[in-house]
């Protein structure tokens, strides 16, 4: 089965938070957010720029969270999606320290939860974040397709030893 991931177009993201809230609603995440929105304004007037980022779980090829979990609560599906089994999770937070991106979230019950790539949705449907994005900055799909799409706009895969399943267009 082909591995799936994200294509994120920084140029299209306006940091509007719609993705975070759509995710929270579809997945009934309660008080935690499975997408983290970052807005950074840089420069000195009048040469100003902004980077907006909306960070889900990157469902890495070599997921550090999975490798670090002492109780085997985190697994990776054949389509690449990394999932945590909350019944097995003991809330030790090793995964939080292992993840280079700060993805694992801990709610009131102390168990880890995070973006599931809308695991319950069939592959041909958009993810909840993807379908509401007003500028269509988020695209999910098979890694080979995303690589082709990213290359068209000079995008590339996010680097690092974890090998995140995410391409970025600047």
């Amino acid at each position: 089965m082909a591995s799936r991931g994200w294509l994120f177009d920084i140029g299209k993201c306006t940091g509007c938070y719609a993705c975070e809230v759509a995710c929270a609603t579809w997945n009934a995440t309660g008080a935690v957010s499975w997408r983290q929105i970052v807005k950074i304004e840089t420069g000195v007037y009048p040469n100003v720029g902004t980077r907006n980022l909306s960070m889900p779980c990157l469902h890495c090829d070599h997921a550090p969270c999975l490798q670090s979990c002492p109780v085997g609560a985190i697994t990776k599906r054949t389509d690449g999606v990394v999932l945590v089994d909350q019944a097995t999770c003991v809330g030790c937070m090793f995964c939080f320290w292992a993840c280079p991106f700060g993805v694992p979230q801990f709610g009131a019950e102390g168990k880890m939860s995070k973006c599931t790539f809308c695991a319950d949705r069939p592959a041909e449907l958009p993810r909840a974040c993807e379908e509401v994005c007003p500028t269509k900055a988020i695209i999910s799909g098979e890694m080979a397709d995303l690589e082709r799409l990213a290359a068209k706009s000079g995008g590339e895969r996010v680097g690092g030893p974890a090998a995140p399943a995410m391409f970025v267009i600047r």
């Binding site: 509007c16 609603t25 319950d120 449907l125 958009p126 379908e131």
Partner: protein, 696 residues
């Protein structure tokens, strides 16, 4: 991009839910939505995937499902028995007492003494029919004077169309002045298209004193001096005229006043050099932008509210549409689109023999604003307190909160208190409702039905099907009006067994049926370009009016002119105030939503980093912002992305009356704003304000 249409059934199955099409009313763009409910609970929402917004939804809409259960919503009709004291009454009591007052006011002062104001207008057509045709007042108005009054009048005057929309996706050059459609004024019909154009190499120029969310995506940000955009636009026109960059065949065939306009800009000397000293934009930049715009095909120049926030905004807004016209960039692919409306019909008709004709002209005409596209609301207190131009004794406020949103807060509060009849129809207990005699709970957009126009490019009608049962005693406006009509002898005309009865009448002229629309959420017609080739323009001359016959007839300048704004900073008040909203809050309706308040709980005033450093202000400090009118304390946001000498306040917070999480959060800044009304359009000059700033 994944195909989203046809995915509804899968999502329904996954959540054991049922989808009903809806319309979002958190902001006035009224995007079509899909609401997924399971046993009376909203489990998911997204944009309508098949209608023009293609599934898109903004954060406000996504978070809005909390409205459905918000304990702080209005639940029962109430009547005021003292300051901050209300008693619960029944609907029957409310209708009886309001009807009695309406009858008394009509007998004493005439029906024109009653006015109906809406901000967002779900189903207010029922109120319009009842009040203007049965009761006999001509005073049915919206909120436009606090919004895009100047732009609206400019578009009407120049192009004969009240609300151009935009084919951004196909444009090669887009210049936006005083409009932040990716941020504060999120337009989901157009945001995807704008960024698709930029991805495809289109040039995007954003002119704004602040580095807005739209400016972030632009190829060029022009940090213009506030309130001087008219000078920039006139200078661009000067270049286009002098260098003959206009589309002459188009202008000769389709515009009125072409020669006069060309002579006028040259004679006035509206050169780039002249504009440079006013705007702070270099003359050769202005020249380059004019040439770029004129040679790029297709192209769009557009504005919304920003220019109209100043006293000189009307003519500046006219220039926006005049420039689009000079280069023939009208109603074609990649242009602004003069959309056709869906052929919807009224939900019911009042027979002639049951109508009451008003004896007095509408308020805006009597006030001396015959061309105002909506009531100059800043002049309403005078009508209430002094009876000028004629007495206003009764007001309905449907989902509108002028005690918070108008300048001169103290005066507005006093005026509402002086009314003989005041009725608030709302989902929340607003500041205005707190001053009203009757407060009626309105059903939210999760619990009511509606059919209306959408703001997509083709003619499109969208439908809202009630997704949830009624919330306590809250009722939709059509039921509220029905109750009033019944008490006043018009009940037989406002009769239906289900909303579907009038729903079918509304869509009677569409080639579809209600059952289909209840499933899909919309009907869409064909997008036609260049419609003017068949039907001309809806102006007095049938052409685009570079020179306005309507203005001339009313004693105004037929040709647009540049004038300075009214309030200029000085030694005592060295900063120009400008204002905008947050992306995640809208007007005054979202500040009790815990999701949105978690993202952004408090408003702030933005200051340039070098101004802040000079004043010893750091990001997050409390500062005092003082105008000659008043002073407020607010949080400072220090950033590089704002022109020095400018303070930008994000408005919409600072509530006293609300229970829940909105109470006391943030700062209400309107007390520092004075009254400033455009003499032709009646629009409010919110940015006509000079301030000084100090750390507290």
């Amino acid at each position: 991009m994944k195909e989203t249409a046809g995915t509804t059934e899968t999502l329904e199955r996954l959540r054991d839910a049922e989808m009903t099409p809806g319309i979002c009313y958190v902001c006035p763009w009224t995007c079509p939505t899909e609401v997924f409910t399971r046993r009376g609970e909203v489990v998911y929402v997204r944009g309508n995937t098949r209608a023009s917004t293609k599934g898109s939804r903004c954060v406000k809409g996504e978070a809005s499902h909390v409205l459905a259960k918000d304990d702080n919503r209005l639940k029962h009709p109430m009547r005021r028995i003292g300051p901050n004291r209300f008693e619960r009454i029944s609907w029957d009591e409310a209708f009886t007492q309001i009807a009695r007052k309406l009858t008394d006011i009509k007998a004493k002062y005439g029906p024109e003494a009653v006015a109906y104001l809406w901000h967002v207008d779900p189903n207010s057509v029922f109120a319009q029919l009842f009040l203007t045709e049965c009761y006999g007042t001509p005073n049915y108005y919206g909120h436009t004077s606090a919004c895009e009054q100047d732009r609206r009048l400019a578009a009407l005057t120049v192009l004969g169309h009240v609300f151009p929309v935009h084919d951004y996706e196909n444009a090669k050059f887009v210049m936006l002045l005083g409009i932040n459609m990716l941020g504060a004024n999120q337009n989901l019909y157009e945001s995807r298209g704008l960024l698709a154009a930029v991805s495809n190499g289109a040039r995007l120029i954003v002119v704004d004193p602040a580095f807005t969310a739209t400016a972030e995506k632009a190829n060029e940000w022009i940090p213009i001096a506030p309130g001087t955009d008219g000078a920039l636009l006139f200078a661009m026109a000067h270049v286009i005229v002098q260098e003959r960059l206009y589309d002459e065949p188009f202008c000769r065939q389709w515009t009125h006043g072409f020669d006069e306009f060309c002579r006028h800009v040259i004679a006035r000397g509206y050169t780039p050099e002249w504009a440079a000293s006013i705007t702070g934009v270099a003359a050769n930049t202005i020249r380059r932008l004019a040439r770029e715009f004129a040679s790029a095909r297709p192209a769009i120049i557009e504005t919304f509210k920003g220019l109209g926030n100043y006293a000189n905004g009307l003519d500046a807004s006219r220039l926006v549409y005049i420039l689009d016209a000079l280069t023939g960039q009208i109603d074609g692919p990649g242009n602004l689109i003069l959309k056709d409306w869906a052929p919807l019909q009224p939900p019911l008709t009042i027979p002639d023999e049951r109508k009451t004709k008003p004896a007095r002209p509408p308020l805006h005409v009597a006030m001396g604003y015959p061309l105002a596209p909506d009531l100059p609301t800043q002049l309403l207190p005078k009508a209430i307190l002094e009876g000028t131009p004629y007495p206003v004794k009764g007001l309905f406020f449907q989902c509108t909160n002028p005690v918070m949103s108008e300048p001169n807060t103290a005066l507005y509060r006093k005026a509402v208190q002086a009314l003989e009849l005041s009725v608030a129809i709302d989902t929340y207990f607003s500041e205005t409702a707190a001053e009203c005699e009757f407060v009626l709970p309105e059903a939210s957009f999760y619990e009511r039905a509606e059919i209306r126009q959408s703001l997509a490019m083709p003619p499109e009608a969208i439908i809202c099907v009630p997704a949830l049962p009624p919330y306590h005693e809250a009722r939709p406006v059509y039921e509220i009006v029905r109750g009033l009509a019944e008490k006043m002898g018009y009940g037989d005309l406002f009769r239906w067994n289900s909303w579907e009865e009038w729903g079918r009448r509304i869509i009677g002229g569409l080639p579809t049926d209600l059952e289909t629309m209840k499933k899909t959420g919309f009907w869409s017609g064909e997008l036609k370009y260049h419609k003017y080739r068949q039907s001309g323009f809806s102006t007095p001359t049938g052409k685009i009016e570079l020179m306005s016959e309507a203005f001339a007839k009313n004693g105004y300048n037929a040709l647009p002119e540049y004038r300075e704004r009214s309030v200029i900073p000085d030694a005592d008040y060295p900063f120009q105030l400008i204002n905008t909203k947050f992306e995640m809050h809208c007007n005054l309706t979202t500040q009790n939503n815990p999701i949105l308040m978690k993202i952004r709980s408090e408003n702030w005033a933005e200051l340039n980093a070098s101004d802040a450093a000079r004043l010893g202000i750091k990001d997050g400090d409390r500062i005092e912002v003082a105008s000659p009118q008043a002073a407020v304390t607010i949080r400072a946001k220090v950033r590089p992305g704002i022109r020095p000498g400018v303070v930008c306040v994000r408005h919409g917070h600072g509530f006293g009356h609300w229970q829940g999480i909105a109470k006391g959060r943030g700062t209400h800044i309107n007390p520092i704003l004075g009254t400033n009304v455009n003499p032709i359009s009646g629009g409010i000059g919110y940015n006509e304000c000079k301030v000084r700033v100090r750390k507290v």
